[in-house]
Symmetry: C2
Subunit: 162 residues, 2 copies
């Protein structure tokens, strides 16, 4: 199959200058603010986005190198298949985050609930639409019992490595 190449459409700015200390997901990053600096040539494509409370950012996990087929996730002590985890070291290190959109000024998006490292290249922006993006009757496998730990860590204000 053919190699697929993309040009970043912008860059994400956040308080996280390195992976250590990052929240592991937007849910754990509630209230943390950042900025998306969209290339000005795409400014017209941002029209109408301000009507949406949440947006999906798709980005390149530029600090991730290599991957293992199985990993011990941060929330777990058992080795799991990589695609059953959200670990950033993946064959194609693509990240997705649902973040809250606060305001748009020119080609800058002010966002909250940011779990993205500063300087991350942005690939796409989509409006978050529950009818499209939220599923019902969910099972979450090995994460079922672990998310309680995540919620405890959040309430203690502690962040864990991504």
């Amino acid at each position: 199959m053919k190699t697929i190449c993309y040009e970043p459409i912008g860059v994400v700015h956040s308080p996280f200058k390195e992976i250590a200390g990052m929240p592991i997901q937007p849910a754990a990053a509630r209230g943390i603010e950042g900025t998306v600096e969209v290339d000005v040539k795409y400014k017209a494509a941002l029209q109408d986005l301000d009507g949406f409370s949440h947006i999906i950012l798709i980005y390149h996990l530029h600090l991730s190198t290599g991957f293992d087929l199985t990993v011990i996730p941060f929330l777990d002590d058992t080795r799991r298949g990589l695609f059953a985890t959200r670990a950033p070291r993946r064959p194609n290190p693509i990240g997705i985050s649902v973040v809250r959109l606060i305001e748009i000024e020119e080609a800058a998006l002010y966002i909250s609930d940011v779990d993205i490292v500063d300087g991350t290249p942005l690939l796409d922006i989509k409006p978050y639409v529950p009818d499209f993006d939220a599923a019902q009757n969910i099972r979450i496998g090995w994460l079922e019992s672990k998310l309680r730990r995540l919620s405890d860590m959040e309430s203690n204000g502690r962040f864990v490595n991504g």
Copy 2:
């Protein structure tokens, strides 16, 4: 900023051989079945995925060429900023779909609620986790009044062009 290149990890198979007649989102594709053929070299990375009822597929919209900064979405009659829509013709034509995982056999994933054209190159698979992927207190801008139309079309069993 640097060009980012990815190698597909597999291919999506579906009943949709062309874009015409495609459902526009998984919500409109309920019950439509497909298969994800993951490259066998990643088989071990699929371990534990079967515990999840839903997965997020990230793929390259390989039939999309070019883009316009504003578009008239299929649900609308007003021109909107491209990034405020889910139109497939984007600067980086990356698609994301939340689909239902039915079964895994070797490196093949049997899935349902498929809104993806046959032969689509797959870039990543992530487990769908509501704590990470579902947001609360949502506003959906221009789509607010339009989704009723989508729901009508679904209940009539009609699909619209993507």
